[in-house]
Structures are given as structure tokens and as C-alpha cells.
Subunit: 325 residues, 2 copies
């Protein structure tokens, strides 16, 4: 069994942090118990970070951005952690996104911690483990955390639900057929960044910016924050400073408007409720008998032999049948 | 107890249909049992309709559209039912949206059935009852069903999940600040209709059309159908015929592409799964002991005394504690 030295972890020791994340990612039952115990113990030392989500299709330049921006953040006296969620990573281990070799300079900084995507197939999914890894990084004193993901599957939606600020990166583009952005993602973004806005791309990037600004006007903004569309070039420190100011401004406004903690609490309660649902469906599928009944009902619904209402009632009655009132 | 004559209902008798919908809307336990029994019996006679969802902010002209379009559909030898979901309707009874008096002509047609919004507060919510009412209307031989809702709360999302075709109505608009369309709604629409596109409005309607067409290009369309932006004037029969053709074309394409039944089955399984979740949370909150524990955990999470993970595990363990393995 992996043994984690909590004091060393709290002192910011990157090896202990690595080991701790490996522990929470483990699917062995005894490791899971130890992980829960560890998380319980470090909970008081969590929460003091800026949690930034970054998404965008492969090739948009996320890694280069994080490499450049991350070093800028360190120059501002932050400690930065980069976690990656890569739904395309093979179960066996390796992961393309967040590969350490792609963020050489950042990974070698004393005040940086770069962690590739966990292997999928862990209980509760990769995103679930990332929420826990955020807490561990915070306990280890990392106060600027970037969660990187690609536009595959549900991971973008899940990342948006675990961060303070959600950044969507896109490429400069002619503007006709746009870049396969998933339904709903645009509207989750706290900011959209047109990346690689330099050299020959600059003109087209400005056009893309205008187009997205216009598209964003269609939906309402009820909160204290309006989604902005910015240009970024990882070749220029100016861009990093502009974005850094944007994030700090967001944080200040959110705190002023009592929305900072409110959002985090809401995310936690949301997490709690969806975990309950996940765990219940997990329990249903683990129980041979319940799982059999559940699937029989799916078939009956598809054949119009039972209404979804009746089927749902029957499953739920069965789950609660043993419980004293 | 309300007694429903199923043969009369199946013959299309509107009084029996009204009584049946009242039964499913009742929150009395014995009525609920009778409602489930009724739904079970009529299930084989359901499914043979075009289910059209219509949404838009108040004042966009939904009722006038449905009045005009409904009569056109009847002229095509359909029987039309109009159900309304009005999340703003008072618990006490009355409802603004779907008020019979607003669709005088349609309500007086022999081949039409217009039902105002059910009162809220019923178990499972108003939207849930509407899903059941759709089945009853179908069993009564209504083969074109319109579900009308306003842009309040979650009702638009719920309607999108229970219909074959989801229509968003908007007003002609200068194009700067747009019309408070909720995040995500635009992307659920199978078609967007710029309403009141006549007279002086026509020019501005065409501009609005272009703007929405451009906004829609940003997200991907993977299915057989591309969301179109159309102009509509309820003053012209031409508009009704154009929309009617659009719907029939959609249905033909969906059937050809094996998507018609697939979508309905997916909606049913989705309904089944969310009912299970709803019923489980219902059970949690009905049980004094579980509800107390659930709320204590919410408080502990908000005070950072427990992780959402640990809290969720504890609640789920408690639920399943009585169940034999």
C-alpha cells in the first residue's frame, strides 16, 4: 500500500504529490479507502487556488499556451499545477494530451507541477479523479491550477463544472464552416481566446473575433461577467499578461459580487448530487439481480411493452425495498 | 375516483380525454395508481403522431401561430392536440399560456383538442405529466401534437427532450442585444422561425434571419438535419403550408435515416433514467432519516468538513443497506 506523508505533501513536495495522485487514481479497494482517508485529512488545506479550465480542439495550441502562460504566472509568484483530462488516452497508461515532454520548460520549473492525464477506466471516471487531484494540488500549496482537456466526449462539460474560469481556445478561421465546437460549449465559456493571432494570421483572427462576439450576443448574460473574445499569441508575453489580468479581474469581481464561494459551493453540491446518482447506477449495475431487471425494462420500453414511468417505479421500489421506513 | 372509459377514449371522445388527463395530473395516491393502470392499457395505441415542440418568449406570437397553423393541419386531415407547459402558472389552477380563450377558433374545431397547462406542484413536475398526456392524446387518435412552452425555467429543455421536432420562435429584431434566449436553447432547435415577418417587419426579419443563420454555423451538425432559419407570418396560409412541408420532410428524412424511432427510444430510455434519479431523490427526501442525513451532508460540504465524495458514498450506502446482495 502507498503511504503518503501528509506533512511532506503540505510542504509542496512534488514527489509526495505525485504519489498521492497515483493513490487516488488507483482502483484497488484498499487504495480507495486510503485515498478517501487522505482526502479527508487534507480537506482543510484546500480551496486557495485559481482553478482555470482550458479546452480546445487538438492543434489549437493549448500546450504551447500553457507553457508560456504558466511561466508568466510563476513570474507573478504563483505556484502552478497543470492537470490534464484526455478522454482519448488509452486505458493502458500513456496519454497524448498533457504529455510531460510537451511542456518541457514548465515541467522543469521548481514552482510548477505537470501531471499527464490519468488512465481511464477508473471508478467514477477520469474527470472525477481530476476533481480530487485539484484538492491535493491545493493542499500542496499550488495556487494556480490549470485543467486542460480536448473537445472529445463529455470532458469539456465536466471540466467547466469543476473550475472557477472556463477558457475556450479556437483558431483564426475564415468564418464559414466553423471548428466543430460542441453544442453548448460556447455558452459555458467565461472567455474565448482566438489563438495564434500573430503574423499573417492576425487579420483573420480579428475577423474570427468579431464573428464570435456577434454569436455570443444572442444568449443572455445574467451574471456579473460578460464573455469576452480575446486574441492570444503565445509568442508574446503581452498576451500572457493580458490574460493574467483578465483572470485576476474576474476573481475580484466574483468575490465582490459574492459569487466566488457561491459558485464553488454550488459546484460541490452539484458534485455531491451527481455522485449519488452515479453511485446508485453503479450499485444497480453491480447487483446481478437489479442489473438484470434494469436491462429487461430497457428492452420492454424499446418494445413499448411498459411505460418508462412504470419501469422506473419498479426499479426504485426494488432498491428501497430493504430499507426501514 | 375518476373512471375512464378506454373505448370511448380510443374513439377520440374529447370529454374522456379531458377526464383522463385530469386523472394523470391528480396527486391523490389512488388516482396515481389508476393513472398508471390507464397508461399501461393505452400504451399499445400510442406513438402514431408528429410531436412538435414550440417555444419562444411571451409576445412572440405562439398562440396566433398555433391557431393558424393548427387549422391548416386540420385541413390536411390531421387531428391536432395542443398541450401547454406553463412554468409560470399559479399552483391554484389558472394558467396564462395555453388559455383556451386565446385559441378560440382552433378549440372549436371538431378535430382539435386544446388543453391548458396543468397546475404545477404535481409529483414529477408539469413536464412529466405532459409526457403522459401526449400518450393519452395519441391513444385518442390525435396524430399531430403541439407542446407549447415559454422561455421560463427548465421547461424548454424538457420539451425538447419529449418531441420529434423542436421549434424556436423569435421576433424580428435590430440585431444588437438579442432576445434573452436561454443558453443552449438555440442549439436544441430543429428550426428557428422569425415570426411576424410581414409588412414593415419584413426587412428587419430578413436581417434577423441572416444573423441567426450565421450564429448557427458555429456549432456542428452531425445528424441528417441542418437547423434552418425560416420566416413566418400567421397572416399568410403560405407560411403554414411551408412549415407543414418542412415537418413532413423532416419526418421522411428521419425515417429514411433510421432516426425517427431511434430518437423516440432514446428519449424513452432517457426518461426512464431520469425518472429513476428523480424517484430516488424523492425517496431520500420523503424518508425523514435519509433526508436529515442528506441535508446534514450538504451543510458539511458547504463548511468544507466533508468531501462531496465521502458524503455521497455514505448516503448511497445507507440507501442500499437493507438490500440483499
Amino acid at each position: 500500500m502507498v503511504d503518503i506523508d501528509i506533512e511532506k505533501l503540505k510542504s509542496g513536495d512534488r514527489r509526495s504529490l505525485s504519489k498521492a495522485i497515483t493513490l487516488i487514481e488507483s482502483s484497488r479497494p484498499q487504495d480507495q479507502l486510503a485515498a478517501q482517508d487522505l482526502l479527508k485529512k487534507i480537506l482543510p488545506y484546500t480551496g486557495k487556488s485559481f482553478r482555470l479550465g482550458v479546452t480546445g480542439t487538438p492543434g489549437v495550441g493549448k500546450s504551447t499556451f500553457i507553457e508560456t502562460f504558466g511561466q508568466h504566472v510563476i513570474s507573478k509568484n504563483h505556484k502552478i499545477a497543470v492537470l490534464a483530462i484526455d478522454p482519448s488516452s488509452p486505458t493502458s497508461g500513456g496519454s497524448i494530451l498533457g504529455d510531460k515532454t510537451r511542456m518541457d520548460k514548465l515541467a522543469n520549473e521548481v514552482n510548477a507541477f505537470v501531471r499527464p492525464s490519468p488512465t481511464s477506466g477508473t471508478l467514477g471516471g477520469v474527470a472525477q479523479k481530476t476533481r480530487e487531484a485539484i484538492l491535493l494540488c491545493e493542499a500542496a500549496g499550488f495556487d494556480f491550477i490549470i485543467i486542460e482537456t480536448v473537445g472529445v466526449g463529455q470532458s469539456e462539460f465536466e471540466v467547466a463544472r469543476m473550475v472557477d474560469f472556463f477558457l475556450l481556445m479556437i483558431l483564426p478561421n475564415g468564418g464559414d464552416e466553423l471548428q466543430g465546437i460542441k453544442k453548448g460549449i460556447l455558452e459555458l465559456a467565461d472567455s474565448i481566446v482566438i489563438n495564434k493571432a500573430d503574423g499573417e494570421n492576425l487579420k483573420i483572427a480579428t475577423q474570427t473575433q468579431a464573428q464570435y462576439q456577434s454569436a455570443l450576443q444572442i444568449t443572455t448574460h445574467s451574471s456579473f461577467w460578460n464573455t469576452e473574445v480575446l486574441l492570444n499569441s503565445s509568442l508574446q508575453t503581452k498576451s500572457s499578461e493580458e490574460l493574467y489580468k483578465l483572470f485576476m479581474n474576474f476573481q475580484n469581481l466574483a468575490i465582490q459580487n459574492q459569487q466566488w464561494n457561491k459558485k464553488r459551493q454550488a459546484q460541490n453540491i452539484d458534485w455531491y448530487n451527481s455522485l449519488i446518482k452515479d453511485l446508485i447506477f453503479n450499485k444497480i449495475h453491480v447487483s446481478k439481480k437489479l442489473n438484470k431487471h434494469f436491462n429487461e425494462f430497457v428492452e420492454s420500453i424499446n418494445n413499448s411493452n411498459i411505460t418508462p414511468i412504470e419501469a422506473a417505479h419498479k426499479i426504485v421500489e426494488e432498491i428501497f425495498s430493504g430499507l426501514e421506513k
